[in-house]
Subunit: 333 residues, 2 copies
DNA sequence: CATCCTCGTGAAAACGATTACACCGACGAT
DNA sequence: ATCGTCGGTGTAATCGTTTTCACGAGGATG
């Protein structure tokens, strides 16, 4: 593969001149044309590795995603990739598979590759490596999940308004015994959603007792199904369930179907994360939609700001309620 | 950030020695310990960019995926990522979004980054850039979609056995008027699935007339829905539909539901690609399952073989039929 | 005792770009 | 005519590694 020296020779100039022409530094008509002609004839493409070594900028961003096969994160990754590309950056993706040690492994690798910045939607709360990243000076932005003790801006959705609206929605439809399926206790996201939902319900004098709070071991369908089973076996089962992750909702739906229960007649069901699928289920599920693509874009923007040294701040975008038919017929039909 | 020179000074040796210790080239107990101690104390990590420049190996693979948000490709990407990581490679992902020009753009970028090898599940048939990749000497492996005129091994699933079995399955259940929803004509994958299905049906004396072959403009739910609408408006609608991509099946299901038709009573439905969702639909859909994760692994293995200079060949893994309830009750219940 | 390897080590040349610095010619001003 | 300036260019240093080559010490061998 041709290198800059070959181009220089062919154009009869020095490598410095070639470099300058290519970077638009000192454009002079005549020499410029000769250089560009040589570039064209040789099919020369600058070696990004060498450039990165010299300039200390790789033009690559890292993205650690907690579970790529979870549709919410897929969309998030897609949005990040799109934003990165349109701003001239490549994206190195690492899938943590919800395993903290694999996440740490990956972060190490990415740092060794000298990526220009790192986006992390952290699996677990393991923050030792993340603190190391901050210490190393590599720009870091947290995505979707905040991590206590790590000094980095976090881009995520704020469920307060949506959950408040949901509480009203459920109350208006006469649901008095709501339940919630959450991620394992200690997960900031799960804890927060639970707290917000509870206070929102309280405003309508609807309690959310602990027996109707079900924690799953993981964010998978089986976990959701298990919790739903527990709910249905209660002496007084709930009449509405909020699953705080889309995969868990899927499992919950399975259990309802297996028992021949109907949504919304026998049980209202609401899903956190409005992945396209839930518009195609029967019935379509009422959902709390996070502005996924905007989150991705905002995260990249924030990261670039940090890379350029601006004092970047956390971003909180509002989630919103998307009422469908799974809680009962809304007023409008 | 500490570099190899700092380590050398601290350990009282030359940089060459440090390098050798770190790469396990000439291990000598005493010097070795001093070096490792220095490495540890300084928290030294080798700069991969410099290493890549010198060795002409980046340790990164590129993956161009035609549509990351399509669950089949998500799983494929996930499998590839997993395989790459476990073999010590990082993965730079590019999402072509089914746009050939964006794909070309990305391939260019990846070549500039001097990735060690490239995996492409090509959007469209634009092969000019792919031929350039081959010419440049960068190891290339095609994934899921073969591209005529490009001399590179292709890793994909073979639907012959599954489609043959499906034809028998449908025949046994008394379906006489099958239909198929395919990608736009000219797409190798779509054409092939159509041809295989047709000959498989022929063996049971079941014809597949052109009026029951519906092409969609894209691989999206709306396209599937549109085609299904056309089928249902035929004077003699089909009694079974095979959607050759999971997203199209989703749209087809929507149209059935909108018309109040029931699966499998009024219409049998089969989906190509057994993404987890279809086990959770009502009823669970009979599917043709491609060995997605194996495909990903095989693709990475094949690519590595090419990187190491072995004469790597195409891989064809059999897809299989997963009968569920969407074509009628199978014998076993 | 001389010679030949072997082994560990260091000095220095790559890898392919960017960029600080020096230089040189032309041109405008004095 | 002389000097200063300025724009364009080339030379060479630099980024952080790996690796070739040469060297010197030491052990084995004759």
């Amino acid at each position: 593969m041709a290198n800059i020296k070959d181009v220089a020779e062919r154009a009869g100039v020095s490598v410095a001149t070639v470099s300058r022409v290519l970077n638009g530094h000192s454009p002079v008509a005549e020499t410029r044309d000769r250089v560009l002609a040589a570039v064209h004839e040789l099919g020369y493409r600058p070696n990004n590795v060498a450039r990165a070594l010299r300039t200390a900028r790789t033009g690559a961003l890292g993205l650690i995603i907690s579970d790529l096969t979870n549709p919410f994160f897929t969309e998030l990754a897609d949005a990040v990739e799109d934003a990165a590309r349109s701003l001239g950056y490549s994206l190195v993706i690492g899938n943590a598979g919800e395993r903290p040690e694999q996440q740490d492994d990956y972060i190490r690798t990415l740092l060794d590759r000298r990526i220009d910045g790192l986006l992390v939607s952290s699996a677990g709360t393991g923050s030792a490596m993340l603190r190391e990243v901050v210490a190393s000076g590599t720009p870091l932005v947290l995505l979707d999940r905040s991590v206590p003790g790590v000094d980095a801006p976090c881009v995520r959705a704020d469920g307060r308004a949506a959950l408040t609206e949901l509480a009203g929605h459920l109350a208006a439809l006469g649901r008095r015994r709501p339940a919630i399926i959450v991620a394992p206790a200690g997960t900031p996201t799960g804890d927060e959603r639970l707290a917000l939902f509870r206070t929102a319900l309280a405003r309508h004098d609807i309690p959310l007792p602990d027996e109707r709070v079900g924690a799953t071991p993981d964010l998978q369908p089986t976990g959701g199904r298990q919790v739903m089973r527990g709910f249905l076996d209660l002496p007084e089962p709930p009449d509405a369930v909020l699953a705080t992750d889309n995969l868990m909702a899927l499992g919950a739906l399975d259990e309802l179907r297996a028992r021949g229960l109907r949504v919304p007649d026998d049980m209202a069901l609401v899903v956190y994360d409005d992945v396209p699928w839930f518009a195609h289920t029967d019935p379509p599920l009422t959902a709390i939609a996070q502005p996924t693509r905007e989150l991705g874009r905002a995260a990249v923007r924030t990261l670039l700001a940090r890379i350029e040294g601006s004092p970047a701040e956390s971003v909180l975008l509002p989630a919103r309620l998307v009422p469908r038919r799974s809680c009962g017929e809304p007023a409008g039909g």
